[in-house]
């Protein structure tokens, strides 16, 4: 098999693709393949890595035209065609590169963020939007001596959103973040909703109003790519639909 990797750094006139051939041993992940590339082919290749266990969220990249975590993606499954995910189209995933999906794995940087070098993108904008929604717990009451009690029944819905690892795969998959680069994006909105539904907060509509702007809740067109690429099954669409419902209800009440 071969791994075909996007290369781009200062001093290069144009980006290019480098292809490296390797043995697809059982269990080989795309991240593992990139390390082989680094060790045996060209040690100037740049890519983010940390946990290698799909929990830290640092290695999201475009793999076979789908945003995924490199550490979680099995090369054998890609070659078998098992990991095809149908996505609503946007420019970065157009078939603009020649590649043989039975033989090759195509690895490119995560879309919608500026490339620093090769597969490393500047995640700054993604975290700026995250910060815009004021992601910090605002309890309704003063601090008790022990824990605030929580109905265990309220936990599963919260966990849907606290499970987000902020890898930005959704951001790189969202057609709206392509056409409207200022759109807050699925992860930030899902995070905002996580605080809104926390029963220990006041649950005030004020929380939701932070994103009650054209480039917030209202810009989503429900393409659903975010949910399909999320490595943690976070459902931003549900958060967005429910938030809109609440805001519309509030509007009617006035």
């Amino acid at each position: 098999m071969k791994i075909k990797v996007y290369r781009d750094h200062d001093g290069m006139k144009n980006s290019r693709y480098d292809t490296f051939e390797l043995e697809p041993k059982p269990g080989l992940t795309v991240l593992g393949a990139l390390f082989q590339f680094q060790q045996n082919f060209d040690d100037s290749i740049a890519f983010h890595y940390s946990c290698r266990g799909a929990v830290c969220g640092t290695c999201a990249m475009l793999i076979n035209k789908v945003p995924r975590l490199a550490c979680r993606t099995q090369v054998a499954s890609l070659l078998n065609g098992d990991l095809k995910i149908p996505l609503s189209p946007y420019p970065a995933i157009e078939e603009n590169v020649e590649w043989d999906s039975k033989e090759e794995v195509l690895v490119e940087p995560l879309p919608h963020l500026p490339v620093i070098k090769d597969l490393i993108v500047d995640i700054g904008k993604f975290f700026d939007y995250y910060k815009d929604i004021e992601p910090v717990f605002k309890p309704a009451d003063s601090t008790p001596e022990k824990e605030r009690l929580m109905d265990p029944g309220s936990i599963p819905e919260l966990e849907l959103y606290t499970n987000c690892i902020l890898c930005a795969a959704c951001f790189g998959s969202c057609p709206i973040d392509d056409s409207d680069p200022e759109y807050l994006g699925p992860a930030a909105l899902a995070k905002l909703y996580r605080f809104y539904i926390d029963p220990r907060e006041e649950n005030g509509i004020e929380r939701l109003k932070i994103a009650d702007i054209p480039l917030g809740w209202w810009d989503c067109k429900f393409h659903g790519n975010c949910r399909r690429v999320c490595p943690k099954d976070v459902p931003p669409l549900i958060a967005i639909a429910k938030a809109r419902e609440q805001l519309e209800k509030e509007g009617e009440d006035l």
Binding site: C56, V136, I165
Partner: protein, 561 residues
Amino acid sequence: MIIIGGGLTGLRAALQISNSGLSGALISKVHPLRSHSVAAQGGMNASLGNVPGDDGASDDWKMHAYDTVKGSDYLADQDAVEKMCNEAAATVYELEHMGTVWSRLENGKIAQRPFGGAGFPRTCYAADRTGHNALHTLYEQVLDRNFPFYEEFFVTSLVKDRGRCIGCTAIEIMTGKIHGFISKAVLMATGGFGRVFNRSTNALINTGDGLALALGAGVPLKDMEFVQFHPTTLYGTNILMSEGARGEGGILVNSQGERFMEKYAPNSVDLAPRDVVARSIEQEIREGRGYDEGYVHLDLTHLGFDRIMERLPGIRQIAMDFAGVDPIKEPIPVQPGQHYSMGGIDVDINGSTILPGLYAAGECACISVHGANRLGGNSLLETVVFGRLVADTIINDINNFQKPDILPIESAVNDVESKIKEVMERKKGANIFDVKDEMTELMFQKFGIFRNGQRMEKGLNEILKMEDKLSELTPNNKDLAVNQTLIQFLELEGMLKIAEVVAKGAIKREESRGSHMRTDHPNRDDENFLKHTLIGLEDKNLNIKYKPVTLGMFEPKERVY
């Protein structure tokens, strides 16, 4: 002040510093949310007493302290253990107050589950993603306070002036530029050195950089021979399969279908402490009762769909993604792997090192709450407790410190620039990655679960040879911006030094205690070795000393589970 490291310890310290009104900054070689704390699964110990013990008894912090000291094989400093266990409940509540979504009991209180070596169901958890939840909570708090972060800066040296630590130098990974940081105090919070071993649950970034920096600045490392091997890491990738899996009722089974832990720990069975279970698994495998590739089974199938989905969804996902096994339907192949570094930078009970101005907390430090073997659920606790308390030490001390002088920082930046220039100008020698692989393989083979003097001596010789090779290594890539090979070279330099410290400490400790099992000295020897190992650099040579263990509430006894 400067905090190096953005995991739970670093972020908790940053929060404390920010709340105190002091100015500071946090430097990390990765974005803080990519720190290894995020991977902690099982939980955080605190004697909340929300779940009663077997006979309806209620837990308290002294029982927690007893279990911790016994688990440590009596090498922990009991004053530090007392402090940690006493602060535990407040620490869990504090995270709850900041928004952490802990798993809950029917009555709405924080849920607790049994963990290895603990007399009570004491481990608070957020499903099996406790570290992730705690790290995100603290990150949110620190971000909300606009505490400055220097992300993707790799610290290259600590700067000393007139016997004090006055800052550090760091390479900005994205540009390759060397920066100087000047400060009255530096807190090291860089985590463990698990990646010195090839089979490790640790993130790839856990290369022990902070320990190497402290050692280089003349601060000794303590008890480095005590390396924890977690019993249940996923065969193939060695990703952690939480002890929570056994806490929830999972059992270990060998290839003959036997629940072999009944033989090794008749009372605690699968929930004996990690050192005991890891050795038992390794022995089963060595005696031919494992599966051919070198693993045993962790069986959760009897727990059923609902319990696994509620309590252990994360490890189910990992087992499916990385081993193609669904634990609801079939057992998980597991083998022991390096998991935790009990040893670390020698600090006193307040987190101060012998170098004024330098402090350390969390896994990179050895305040010695874990001694020779850490109990599951105590490391998350340590990070948050001591992130806060050591920050308090700094807040207290800092007014007594003079304003540092900029000149030594400038000169340190020049030194690092020259060193990197020299490394980059070398002619092509051996492959950096090959040397790293050779080291990690050697460390697991010669300084793994079962050790003996002869093999370790051979191992040490190999390490010294590899250190000699360092001066011939150079990246092919000569750009300074985003040169990850250069960063890995700098990590490797530190890792080899750490490997040498582990080796020397392990060779000299002629007894078996906790995680340090010597087949040639199979018994604990309190008469000669109830003491901490200290290894420091003196005139470029590693020098070994010892210091006494602080006893107190609990007299050393034989450890039976």
